[in-house]
C-alpha cells in the first residue's frame, strides 16, 4: 500500500510518501514528481518518515528525474528515511547522487541556504 500527499509549504513543495513503493505502484510516485516539475516547483522535499519499503522501481523514478532537476535547477531533497531504506540507497551509491538529510529541519536548511 502506498499513499502520496503533495502540499505546498512556504516556497517549496513537500511530497509525503506513506507505505511501500514497488513495481505495482511506482507509477504513482512518477506522476507526482512529473506534476511537481510541470508546476515549475523549484524546491522539492520528499518526506520519507513513513516510507516502509522501496524497490528498484521506486529508486528508478528518482533517478530518472535527476537530469531534469539539474536542467531546471530544481533543488530536490529527501529526508526521514529509516535505516533499512537508507541502506538500499547506499548499496547503489544513490546517496552520492541525491541529497538525503535525516530531519525536516536539515532538509529545509539545504533548500533555503543552498
Amino acid at each position: 500500500m502506498l499513499s502520496i500527499n503533495k502540499a505546498p509549504e512556504r516556497d517549496h513543495l513537500v511530497i509525503t510518501l506513506n507505505g511501500e513503493v514497488d513495481a505495482s505502484n511506482s507509477v504513482e510516485l512518477d506522476e507526482v514528481i512529473q506534476e511537481a516539475i510541470a508546476e515549475n516547483a523549484s524546491k522539492i522535499l520528499v518526506d520519507g518518515n513513513r516510507l516502509e519499503y522501496i524497490s528498484s522501481a521506486g529508486l528508478g523514478v528518482f533517478m530518472s528525474y535527476l537530469e531534469d532537476f539539474n536542467e531546471k535547477q530544481v533543488t530536490f531533497v529527501i529526508f526521514g528515511l529509516n535505516e533499512k531504506i537508507l541502506n538500499v540507497f547506499h548499496i547503489l551509491g544513490l546517496d552520492q547522487l541525491i541529497s538525503i538529510k535525516s530531519t525536516k529541519e536539515e532538509a529545509e536548511r539545504a533548500l533555503y541556504e543552498a
Binding site: M1, E20, D22, A23, S24, S26, D30, Y53, S55, S56, A57, L59, G60, V61, M63, S64, Y65, L66, E67, D68, E83, K84, I85, N87, V88, I91, L92, G93, L94, L97
Partner: protein, 138 residues
C-alpha cells in the same frame, strides 16, 4: 527448513511475496537491514520475471522455495516463461541510468550486490534461478 510459495504473475502480488519472506526471515536472527536486503533481492528477481518473462499474465505463476540452513539461506525461483539468464545480463552503469533518464535497470544490480552467489539453470520445462546468502558464523 523449507518454505514454498506459489506466486501468480501480477505486480499486485509483490506485497504478498514480501509478507511471505518477512515471516521466514524474522525468525532467522538476521538484523533488519539484512532482512530487508534479502526481501528486496528476491522481489527484484520475481518482479523482473513477472513483468518481462510473463507480461504480468495472472494465469502464470512462479514457484519460490526458501531453504534456511545453518550456513546459508537459498532462495530458489522457478518459472516456465521465457528464459532470462540473470548471470549473462549486464547491469547498466549508474551514470548511464541517470543520463538516459531510465527508470529500470537498477534491480538486478541490487541483487548482485546483496547476494553472495547467483546460479541460473534452464531446461525445456523450467528456468531456475538460485540466490544464495551466506550466514555469518557467530
Amino acid at each position: 527448513m523449507k518454505h514454498e510459495l506459489k506466486l501468480y504473475c501480477e505486480k499486485s502480488r509483490l506485497a504478498e511475496l514480501r509478507n511471505f519472506l518477512s515471516g521466514i526471515l524474522s525468525a532467522s536472527g538476521l538484523n533488519d537491514i539484512t532482512q530487508n536486503q534479502l526481501i528486496l533481492a528476491v522481489e527484484e528477481v520475481c518482479a523482473n520475471l513477472i513483468i518481462h518473462s510473463h507480461d504480468c499474465n495472472p494465469l502464470n505463476h512462479i514457484e519460490l522455495e526458501v531453504l534456511v540452513g545453518k550456513d546459508t539461506i537459498v532462495f530458489e525461483i522457478r518459472d516456465s516463461g521465457k528464459a532470462f539468464n540473470i548471470i549473462e545480463y549486464k547491469s547498466p552503469e549508474i551514470d548511464a541510468v541517470v543520463r538516459e533518464k531510465r527508470k529500470g535497470g537498477l534491480g538486478l544490480l541490487l541483487v548482485r550486490k546483496i547476494m553472495d552467489k547467483i546460479e541460473f539453470e534452464t531446461d525445456p520445462s523450467f528456468n531456475t534461478c538460485r540466490l544464495i546468502k551466506k550466514l555469518k558464523s557467530k
